[in-house]
């Protein structure tokens, strides 16, 4: 820049420290943040699996059986354990952020954060139990 018209001749070099692409490995807080953001990949994967399931079911019993035998492949089962852990992390972190996203007042008093988180988690458990029960009966 030195010598051009729009910058002072003897201006020092701008100090712009380069951030490493692996900045999120520097501290556990950052790593946790990136892991939380990456749970969206688990969410998208699950959406695709649900679509594939419905698609296979639409093709008939044979296609559905093939699909389910694929789902039993060891590498896919291992991956799904990871995905499930990611989904649970998403749920837990989502619910624990809920009090910052919604401020509930009852009788002019703010409902304590722990109550909002607790209510969400309780609803989550009930919904999950209902879905699993439904799957066992269908």
């Amino acid at each position: 820049m030195a010598g051009t018209l729009d910058a002072p001749r003897y201006h020092g070099r701008w100090h712009r420290p380069r951030t490493s692409v692996f900045w999120w490995l520097e501290s556990w807080r950052y790593t946790r943040f990136v892991l939380r953001e990456l749970t969206s990949v688990c969410v998208a994967w699950t959406a695709l699996v649900l679509m594939a399931y419905v698609g296979a079911a639409g093709l008939g019993a044979e296609a559905l059986a093939t699909f389910l035998s694929w789902m039993g492949a060891p590498w896919l089962v291992a991956w799904h354990v990871v995905v499930l852990a990611g989904l649970v992390y998403h749920s837990v972190s989502w619910f624990s952020l809920a009090p910052s996203a919604m401020v509930v007042r009852v009788g002019g008093r703010r409902v304590p954060a722990s109550l909002i988180v607790g209510g969400n988690v309780a609803a989550w458990v009930v919904v999950s139990a209902a879905l699993l029960w439904l799957a066992g009966r269908a």
């Binding site: 969206s40 699950t46 959406a47 679509m51 698609g55 639409g58 559905l64 619910f95 999950s128 699993l132």
Partner: protein, 115 residues
């Protein structure tokens, strides 16, 4: 343009995050573990009866679509910040929201052409 769309994208992000938080762990548990390894043959499951009402199909489209937009929004920022790809902003946004939108159409097509 982007200033007008941004609130809608954040709304889809948080709606999708909520749907995924409540339903996805159980749904994955069912499709990836209970049905393939269940105590009964998964093929005898009668989805047809369960999915007959149009309301149920519509709800399922929502249950698939909203979390996809949640992913699109969150993953877009993960790429920006995590991999420092700010210069590819437009391309990343188009790919993320575009694939979420395309998948939504596929999901709707699959669900509403079910026998």
């Amino acid at each position: 343009m982007s200033r007008r769309v941004a609130p809608l994208l954040w709304l889809l992000f948080s709606a999708g995050g909520t749907v995924a938080a409540f339903f996805y762990p159980a749904l994955l548990l069912i499709v990836a573990f209970v049905l393939p390894f269940g105590y009964r043959d998964g093929t005898e499951l009668s989805l047809a009866g369960l999915l007959q009402p149009a309301v149920v199909r519509g709800l399922l489209v929502v249950v698939v679509a909203l979390p996809l937009f949640h992913w699109a929004h969150r993953f877009r920022y993960t790429l920006y910040d995590g991999l420092q790809l700010k210069h590819l902003a437009v391309l990343i946004a188009v790919l993320c929201y575009g694939s979420a939108l395309a998948s939504t159409f596929v999901a709707a097509y699959l669900l509403f052409t079910l026998p």
